[in-house]
Every structure is written in structure tokens, then in C-alpha cells.
Amino acid sequence: MINKKVNNVKEAMQGVESGMTLMLGGFGLCGIPENAIKALVEMNVNGLTCISNNAGVDDFGLGMLLQKRQIKKMISSYVGENDEFERQMLNGELDVELVPQGTLVERCRAAQSGFPAFFTPAGYGTEVAEGKETREFNGKMYVLEKAFEADFSFVKAWKGDEAGNLIFKGTARNFNPAMCGSAKITVAEVEELLPAGSLDPNQIHIPGIFIQRIFQGNNYEKRIEQRTVRKRD
């Protein structure tokens, strides 16, 4: 067993510097690396490029980094529900690259898998395809999209072991698996960190080979963005 465990979030963040490109897992506020984001706020690193499907809400998730102007550029697919984000973007204070969601995750997965680029039909004929190579395959047009290059990737899982193996829960899985091993260093935070041998190898979603550091996360808030319920009959 190769032990990937670090003692706390501070150790896990070693080497993170201003100006770096970071990947952050999650969809909305579901499955975001809460501990790593709080640490980035405290470290006061700035000029960051963040690759994340969403940009949090005003006072939680990546919204906390936006409030402190720590982000220079966001690469996302959907950024609604965040007034501060919209304000910074429309004022030209924040550089934003909007990417179709399936393309966004595949650019992460391409980096993970050793593909420099891939063709996708998404965005053909739209402004997303401007300046990009397009090609016809079997009578349909495709756009060439490139793999991301990132310094750190921060992911969040439900359970993990000291070998870095991960298991996700529900729809908190989302972008997290494709961001494992997609940056120079992948940091995983988990709700429950167990000794190696505690997890059934049949149940592992992401093998520890993709993870450089794993730590036991604390104080998960797991905020719900849209609480929708039905009445009991």
C-alpha cells in the first residue's frame, strides 16, 4: 500500500500559490471540496484560474473566493445564482470562459487519460466554436476541444482510504471522478477516511493511483441550493 494520507487540510494545500490553475469538483453546491475552498480563502492566494462547473453562491463555495477577488478567471458551464459573479463579469473584472458541460468534463477526463484533444458535436455553429478547428465525420460536424492543464485538482468524496481509493455518494459524484489525476497534484477530501483494507475493492469508484493526497474533512455544511419538497398526502 502506498499511503496518501496527510494529517490535515493545511498539509494538503502545500504548494498552492497565487496565479495557479485549479480544478474543483462539484455541481452547484453538491459534492464541492468545502474544506479546500475554505483553506484557499484563508491562504489568501489570488490571481487564480478556477475550472469548476459552477461558481458557488454569493456566500458559499467558490462565491467566497469571488467575494475576496481571489479569482482572475473562471472556466465553467453554468454560473447563474451568483450576483457577485455576474457583477464582476459584466464589469470586466473577471475573465470568464463558458464551456458546454459535457465538453467541460471531457476536457478534464482527457487530461486524466492522456488525450491532448477530442472532437465533440457540442457548440458547433455557435460562438463556442469560434477560432477552433472543425471537422466532418460521417456527415456531421464536430469541434476540436483541448484537454485542460491544471496545477492542482481538489475533489470531495464520501468515503476514502489511506491508499487514496474513493467512493462517492449520490449525485455528489458529478465532476469529481474526472478531476482525479487531471492536474499535477490531486487532493481528495473525504467525509470518512478509513485504514487501507476497509473498503471493498469491488466498490471503489476511483483507484488511489489518481490521488496524491487524501485527508479527513471536517464540518461539512452540505448546503442545499434549491430545497424542493412535496406534501404528504
Partner: protein, 217 residues
């Protein structure tokens, strides 16, 4: 004229036995409530769930279980979870049979715009560009005109496009329309709506052939 629920009810009739269906945010989400219960259908949400069920009972919400609209949901027997990459493999790979989504504008060529109003609203395309570029069958749920009474069914879209030549069918508050090589083709009228009302509310080419039946909900 139909309200949002009426549009959802009419679209629900397009959902067939054995379909895997992706529902967009807004009116499309409502469609799930009106699908016949004697057919087998599974709803996919692109954030990573197949076999999506209704909203949870109060007190049973799970922060780790949401749909692509970030709403709390439940799962039905046979449901599965997966990551975003596999989710878009289902979409790009044409394993999802039907996509239902909203639009700000649709052109008579089947182009759709629903993600950006330059200088005003920039929320992003989410999964819409992937969905419209790949789905074989796309139905748009929309209001026929905007708040100013201007047509949203146009010769050419004025807003930045989400996809080109992809929309097959439109269900609006006024009509059911098929997108053909020659333009919009009127199939059905909403209850109480006359063909003249639909012609007036449609800027793009509208083909009207024979008697146009009133839709059955």
C-alpha cells in the same frame, strides 16, 4: 391558450414506452408529472442520475441528491448514479431518446437560442449545447411570444445560438409545431386558439395545410 402546466401535459404525450428522457429546467421539469403511468420511462438528469423520482417529502431532503436544476429529488427503483463524463456519454452517444428543453428563440431552420442575452444575462449553457448537438429528438417547450408580445418563433435567431438545425418540435402556449425543411409546420392549435392567432404570433415561415385540429390534453 395553454398555461405552463398545459404545455407540460401536451409534451407528456410525446413520451413513449421505453424512452430514456432528459428534462431541462422550468416547464420541462413539470412533464414528469403527466407521463402515463402504464408505460416504462426513465428520467435522466445530466448531473448524474437515471431513474429520477419526485421531490422528497419534507424532512427527507438529501444534499447529496439533486437534479441538474439543483433541486432536491428522490430516486425510483432501478435508479443509478454516475459521473458527469458517463452522463454525457449517454447524451452524446444517443442513448437518451428524447430531450425536452426551454428556449428564448427558435428559428424556422430548427436553430435554438437559450443561454445568453449579450450584456444582460449570462448564466451559461450548462448541458444544453451537448444535448441539442446530439439528441435525435428534441422538443422545445416555450411561450410563443415574449413579454412585449414579439414572436419567439423566428426566421432567424437574434440571440447567440445554442445549436443549429436541431429542434424537431415545439409545443407553445398556442400550438404544436413541427420544424420541417420548408419552415414551421402547424400541427395542432391550443384550446380556444384560432389559426389566425398563431399566424400573427409567428414571425418565421408558417405552413398551414388543411384543417388544424385542436390539441387533446
Amino acid at each position: 391558450m395553454l398555461d405552463k402546466i398545459g404545455i407540460a401535459k401536451r409534451i407528456a404525450k410525446e413520451v413513449k414506452d421505453g424512452y430514456y428522457v432528459n428534462l431541462g429546467i422550468g416547464i420541462p421539469t413539470l412533464v414528469a408529472n403527466y407521463v402515463r403511468d402504464d408505460i416504462q420511462v426513465e428520467f435522466q438528469s445530466e448531473n448524474g442520475v437515471l431513474g429520477m423520482g419526485p421531490f422528497p417529502y419534507e424532512g427527507e431532503e438529501d444534499a447529496d441528491l439533486i437534479n441538474a436544476g439543483k433541486q432536491t429529488i428522490t430516486t425510483l427503483p432501478g435508479a443509478s448514479f454516475f459521473d458527469s463524463s458517463l452522463s454525457f456519454s449517454m447524451i452524446r452517444g444517443k442513448h437518451v431518446h428524447l430531450t425536452i428543453l426551454g428556449a428564448m428563440e427558435v428559428s424556422e431552420k430548427g436553430d435554438i437560442a437559450n443561454w445568453k442575452i449579450p450584456g444582460k444575462m449570462v448564466k451559461g449553457m450548462g448541458g444544453a449545447m451537448d444535448l441539442v448537438a446530439s439528441a435525435e429528438n428534441i422538443i422545445v417547450a416555450m411561450m410563443h411570444t415574449n413579454k412585449e408580445g414579439e414572436s419567439k418563433l423566428l426566421k432567424q435567431c437574434s440571440l447567440p445560438l445554442t445549436g443549429v438545425g436541431c429542434v424537431k418540435k415545439i409545443v407553445s402556449n398556442l400550438a404544436v409545431i413541427e420544424v420541417t425543411d420548408k419552415g414551421f409546420k402547424l400541427l395542432e392549435r391550443a384550446p380556444g386558439v384560432q389559426v389566425e392567432d398563431i399566424i400573427k404570433a409567428t414571425e418565421g415561415t408558417l405552413i398551414v395545410e388543411g384543417d388544424i385540429p385542436e390539441m387533446i390534453l
